[in-house]
């Protein structure tokens, strides 16, 4: 297998985006196509070795055919090409006219994107925005995985709370509950960090379950701060042989609400209801 790559530019050396590059195997006639990115580059990976015919097409440019490009597998084959602008036609309206008149009939030839009245802003790629989206998805994937991992010690913390608040003199169950709570808090912090730091995409209006998911964060976020503070107070009172009293009594209820909100947030983006 080999790689065939290159860059398509216009006569001035500017990259030609959205050009279609088609490679056809001379040996078996199999064809593959790719579209150039905003920098005019294209790439075919895993091409069977052999000779290929190439065809480069782009709206507003003359089609270019290359009769032979050999992929030998030793190193990537680089085919950089320059496209010449098409000769202007008298029947085709100019871009300004098309912008004012979407879908307007233009010529008897096959229609092009400009015939549909699409603006340059709509048709041109934005690599910066794509990079932002990639980063956002990457961070939210970690957020999602960390959220799932956090669920395990969270459930264990809730389960061990049943013994931690009892009347027994021993502190082992309380210590275990505290240790699990600490792990949960740390993992929760990492989970929250990846959600908070994930880049926002300008112009996006939030719709759907994500709104509920974020609303729940306003409950479990403060709850995750308050719960260990109240827990530390309750722990201290217990260790002093006192009955848990005062505001520390809220540790349990706050923890339950926090865990419930966390679970609801998780379910809201996982299961349709």
């Amino acid at each position: 297998m080999g790689v065939l790559t290159g860059r398509v530019v216009d006569s001035s050396g500017n990259p030609v985006a959205n050009a279609t590059v088609t490679v056809t195997s001379v040996d078996n006639g199999q064809a593959r196509s790719a579209t150039t990115g905003t920098d005019g580059s294209y790439r075919f990976d895993d091409l069977p070795l052999g000779n290929y015919r190439m065809k480069l097409e782009a709206a507003g440019f003359q089609t270019l055919e290359i009769l032979s490009a050999t992929v030998d597998g030793t190193k990537p084959v680089v085919v950089d090409e320059k496209l010449q602008a098409s000769a202007p036609t008298t029947t085709k309206p100019n871009l300004e006219q098309q912008d004012n008149l979407p879908n307007a009939p233009s010529s008897s030839t096959a229609p092009s994107l400009s015939d549909l009245g699409l603006t340059t802003e709509q048709t041109q790629g934005n690599p910066r925005e794509q990079a932002l989206l990639d980063k956002r998805t990457h961070m939210l994937k970690i957020h999602q995985r960390m959220g799932l991992i956090t669920t395990i010690p969270l459930i264990a913390t809730v389960v061990t709370s049943l013994n931690a608040g009892g009347k027994s003199e021993g502190t082992a169950s309380r210590d275990l509950h505290v240790a699990l709570g600490a792990v949960t808090g740390d993992l929760y912090g990492i989970t929250a960090y990846y959600a908070i730091r994930a880049p926002r995409i300008p112009g996006t209006k939030k719709r759907g379950p994500i709104k509920f998911h974020e609303a729940m964060a306003w409950i479990h976020g403060p709850g995750m701060i308050l719960t260990p503070i109240l827990g530390a107070m309750a722990f201290s009172q217990k260790n002093n042989g006192e009955k848990v009293h005062g505001i520390a009594q809220a540790h349990g209820p706050v923890a339950i609400v926090t865990a419930g909100a966390f679970g609801a947030a998780l379910l809201s983006v996982s299961v349709k209801f």
Partner: protein, 178 residues
Amino acid sequence: MNKKILIAFLLVTLPTFAADSQWVLKQSTLTYHVSHPLHESEGVSHAARGKGVCHNGQCDFLIAVTVKSFDSGDSNRDLHMVQVTRGAEFPIVTVRTRLPESAASSATINADLEIQFAGQTAQYKKVPFKVETQGGETHITGTIPATLTDFKIDPPSLLTMPVKNEIPVRVDMTWRSQ
């Protein structure tokens, strides 16, 4: 006699070389369907633009729609969809097909489609569409059997479970001849 033959020939052949006609997409609903073990979701776009140009009995159609115009009712999912399909880098999905002019009067058509999406081109042969013509408008419905691998898209996952490879796209379009 020769003149009569010539006139008869012209009368017979004239319709073939008649003035070009064109088709314009008036309304459209494109719906992609994604299956995940935990739930199903759909994204809908009404923003497609299309045009068909007929010449010598053959019509070349181009339909284009922006990736961002698909709405699944969940902004988070839509942004993820745009990311995995590289919709910011390749913002337009285009569908090209060539059909005989007579297709508008058929009950069904089998179209060969060339779809550019996510920086890739995929061809679908003989995709069946139902055709209904009424009052100068032609209504076309069908489903394009698209898959993620056709466009080299990594299947997005939720809770570490990936979506199915099949992403059928339901097409519902109304065209008007000009």
